[in-house]
Symmetry: C2
Amino acid sequence: MEIERKFKVITTPILLEQYEKKEIEQAYLCTDPVIRIRKSNEEYYMTYKSIQDITLSNIALCCQEVELPLTEEAYLHLKKKIDGNIITKTRYLIPIAGGYIAELDIFHGHLKGLCFTEVEFSNEKEAAAFIPPEWFGEDVSFDKRFKNNYLTFINSYTELGIN
Amino acid sequence: MEIERKFKVITTPILLEQYEKKEIEQAYLCTDPVIRIRKSNEEYYMTYKSIQDITLSNIALCCQEVELPLTEEAYLHLKKKIDGNIITKTRYLIPIAGGYIAELDIFHGHLKGLCFTEVEFSNEKEAAAFIPPEWFGEDVSFDKRFKNNYLTFINSYTELGIN
């Protein structure tokens, strides 16, 4: 079960390069359920997320998620079968107050200009009590324009209509 | 963890239609790891089997297996992305001595003529101790020609060279 909140970013922390980062490339074989393939640095995965089992609260988004390892060869094979565009982004893992990690995603390629951050929680109570750092902007947890399986079908950042 | 043994069939049990059966259609998106989509009666699944984690013993074949539900729509969507041929078969679930179930697969379509049976065990000791019923033939647990992810690339039963 994944419980997370997603936020726009007002300003990114300075000296980003001091943080652990992942160069991510991902794409989709299916959107309901979500079947995603991802390269994260030199690791390869297929992730299944059940849309059917989503429990909507007012605070956070929950879904069943299963992550399965792929070989590089399998990843490249499945990449020929994707539905939309390949998403590329750099993910910075930034420790914040409360022992949480802000996953800051800075998009590249056709989504250059897009940037948001996510925080994962162990339960909904924690998610509700979370006080975002000052550099976090609007909560967009329920805005589909910030979902990667929506973004894969978008051709440019401007097409998103995010201000 | 799946632990199973596979056998040729000398004669199928009489009155097959008395047993529970599943009409199965399946195909593959990837062969290593195995990513299979399957329709079983009116249920739809994607199954991931890790080849990397296979533990080979002399008796049974073991592999990590994860089964994930699909909607009919997702199944039909993924069916456009398969690598080989679609396999269709009727699977009869036949109770046998020792409390086991023989899964008897009778193939149709391009594999018409092919037939084998599988038994699943809870551990390797059980698999080794198993005494097959008289209607079971040769143990083909390690013969790749009886693996579905091999059969999907075969164009006819005769091409298999099974006597």
